[in-house]
């Protein structure tokens, strides 16, 4: 284990030791993954000393979350007000207190498996990640950052320092839900987040939908369904049509947790649930579903 004292030391170290190095924040799944022999890191690098990356800030209409911010820190932040209820929805289903006190936003982004509950939310908020190495910084969409299961665009000499997204305006709302074997502290069969923006006439001005699985084993946007909904006037019918499009769009697979058929049913159901919750937050009543 390498325990850097400060950021310059860390970036220097990463630049000169690029093989077999695993970065961990609070490492909620690292001991498990080592014991199950899923990883065999030569060196673990403990990032928890870099407290400068533990913050939630708002500047010029952009919310910035430091990579070492825990899920508990996030929902306790005064910036994460009722418009960001979606993060409390994530926290409730994410895990028990002892997990959300440890798990970090950066860790959730970098784990890049299909089960990370924060990822669909960051996808629908069109969030970006900021990466830093000794040579400088770069920024990319969260969507582009995750390449595949457990693989990201992170180079061996880089760390994720921040994720950021535009503030949700009064015309927008966002919701998250998840179904697993139990209510919390469980790997999801399906999780889903929806961001919705409505025009005055109840037409969909903007909609973004993400699920932990769409066609592969990573969180993705359901773009066909988004196109179907965008510009349409919300009604029971348009919602049912959208759910049907989603059903056709999904290329889910069976695994040891659950079958493809069940996963598809649940995905469509929680998509409708999260979308109607967004509508409810915007127009203040239970209109559909």
């Amino acid at each position: 284990m390498y325990v850097p004292e400060n950021l310059p030391d860390l970036l220097q170290y990463l630049d000169s030791h690029q093989i077999g190095v695993h970065l961990i924040a609070n490492g909620t799944d690292m001991i498990n993954r080592i014991q199950r022999r899923q990883v065999n890191p030569k060196v673990l690098v403990d990032l928890t000393g870099l407290s400068e990356f533990r913050y939630v800030r708002k500047d010029a209409g952009v919310i910035r979350i430091g990579a070492l911010t825990t899920i508990s820190d996030l929902i306790a932040s005064s910036i994460i007000d009722s418009r960001y209820e979606v993060f409390r929805e994530v926290a409730r289903k994410f895990g028990g207190p002892s997990i959300i006190n440890m798990a970090t936003v950066g860790g959730n982004i970098c784990s890049a498996s299909s089960s990370e509950d924060l990822m669909p939310v960051l996808l629908v908020l069109d969030a970006e990640v900021r990466l830093r190495s000794i040579h400088g910084e770069r920024t990319m969409k969260v969507e582009d950052f995750v390449k595949g299961k457990r693989t990201t665009q992170l180079k061996p000499n880089e760390i994720v320092v921040e994720t950021m997204f535009r503030e949700i305006g009064p015309e927008g709302s966002c919701s998250f839900d998840k179904v697993g074997m139990r209510n919390s502290l469980i790997i999801a069969f399906v999780n889903s987040a929806v961001y919705l923006q409505l025009a005055r006439d109840m037409r969909v001005a903007e909609v973004r939908i993400a699920l932990n699985r769409v066609s592969g084993k990573i969180p993705q946007r359901a773009q066909m369904t988004e196109r179907k909904l965008k510009g349409s006037k919300l009604s029971k019918q348009s919602l049912a049509d959208a759910a049907l499009t989603l059903r056709n769009e999904l290329r889910l697979t069976s695994d040891f947790r659950v079958s493809e058929e069940y996963r598809t049913e649940v995905a469509c159901a929680i998509f409708k649930r999260t979308l109607s919750r967004c509508i409810q937050r915007l127009v203040g009543e239970q209109v559909l579903v």
Binding site: M1, V3, P97
Partner: protein, 160 residues
């Protein structure tokens, strides 16, 4: 396998010991410091039995490398009260017979401490949520919730 000097504070006492990279906080507390009140359950972060407070917040000591506790304040069940002078949360657990086999109780009491230090008068829902990561296989949850309520009331009286 690298070695590190771990300096941390456990139950109000400063410690400095040499730990190996792979050692878990749970093992250092139990085997090196002899604090057997912290129990091992599933060892995978699912049951919450190994809960301790790190800088006041409940964490699973089976998931944390010992060296990650450097410069932190750890509180285990031994730091909550003594047999002669029980903490109000412990007295409330006794009053309600909230402990059956007792294995999950250290973590339950620490979870209650984390909650009551932040939210002195929690709702039942907040109590349920605060203890939700800890599994009691005797399934005696209701008395645990009652005990936390009683402790909250007692601690409020004590403050006044």
């Amino acid at each position: 396998m690298s070695k590190h000097l771990l300096k941390f504070n456990v139950n109000g006492k400063d410690h400095a010991l040499v730990v190996q990279s792979h050692e878990r906080l749970l093992d250092v507390l139990r085997d090196r410091l002899g604090l057997k009140g912290t129990k091992e359950g599933c060892s995978t972060g699912d049951c919450g039995i190994c809960g301790v407070l790190m800088d006041g917040r409940l964490v699973n000591s089976c998931l944390i490398f010992a060296i990650q506790a450097r410069n932190k304040k750890i509180v285990t069940i031994e730091g909550i009260g003594t047999p002669e002078k029980l903490h109000p949360i412990q007295r409330a657990f006794v009053k309600w017979n909230a402990s059956q086999c007792g294995y999950c109780i250290p973590a339950m009491i620490l979870a209650a401490k984390d909650l009551l230090d932040r939210i002195p008068e929690p709702t039942t829902d907040e109590i349920r949520r605060a203890t939700s990561g800890i599994i009691c296989r005797c399934t005696g949850y209701l008395k645990i919730f009652e005990a936390v309520k009683t402790a909250a009331a007692q601690m409020k009286d004590d403050r006044q």
